[in-house]
Symmetry: C2
């Protein structure tokens, strides 16, 4: 049995860039004042990439029960045909566990803690764990791909590899 | 001077159907259990219609200052090339003021109060007022159309028509 401890770090755009986009209000966004000054539009924050094989963008709500840490990683998934964006609606933090697109490598996973004000958009093919709300059950607005085609691969970690995710102090 | 009082009603799918979609967790959604039982996917809640003239879906955050009621309607807008979805991120209610797609008719506007758990998706061409957060400044996750082309028409109400929106008790 091999055991790995994966410490989840604060989610930042720079660290997450190899996996996808962070969707948040931020000074270095393109900010467009609209609505006669009432609104700032933080513009075009994610690469929505869902058109492969006739796909179309869809909007859903995921209602997820919370998990606690340390969290054991058993299964990871990827969507070969489309990006998938999550925006937390309840203000609660959540765990983000990712691996680079391409051949799955359990030894190179990374973990992040997203705040309740941050969304993530997994790029097409990025390995990721499913929704892991922390502290409380939570709803997520999800923008991903609708349409035919095989758009979910799962991989189960080897039984002799124990990966436990904690939160970095 | 002609004065109209428009009473904003509780937002429901049935009442809003001529204008767009209501995005919310609801028993009569298509609900798909996923993530090994941890998550319910309320699936495909809005008609995202952004492909006209080479458009693509984009995700933005609108940060809007709040308004108070009674609210005077002066300007309405529509997006001839794409739908536009709003999901409130702060849990605050917001005003939704709409008119049917087609020739603008100021005398047939309707107003709704969306709860902090409801999103709206304006169908392509639906006349609507811009973001009107109530009670507090609020962020909205917005899914609309990116790309070239003229995608915003505005109409200013006649100066001799005063439309005031209040909230129905």
């Amino acid at each position: 049995m091999s055991a790995m401890l994966l410490q989840a770090q604060t989610l930042t755009r720079e660290a997450f860039a190899p996996y996808g986009d962070v969707i948040e209000v931020c000074d270095n966004n393109q900010v467009i004042p609209i609505n006669y000054g009432l609104t700032d539009r933080h513009h075009d924050l994610a690469q929505v990439d869902v058109a492969a094989d006739g796909g179309r963008p869809i909007i859903s709500i995921f209602r997820s029960r919370s998990v606690s840490v340390p969290f054991q990683v058993e299964i990871m998934e990827r969507h070969p045909l489309g990006s998938q964006a999550f925006m937390g609606l309840g203000g609660h933090p959540y765990l983000v566990i990712v691996g680079l697109a391409g051949e799955f490598d359990a030894h190179k996973l990374r973990a992040f803690v997203a705040s309740g004000n941050q969304g993530v958009n997994y790029h097409r093919g990025t390995w990721h764990h499913y929704c892991l709300s922390l502290e409380a059950d939570s709803d997520f607005l999800v923008v991903d791909r609708g349409g035919d085609g095989h758009n979910c691969d799962e991989v189960r970690l080897p039984a002799d590899l124990n990966i436990s995710v904690t939160i970095q102090e």
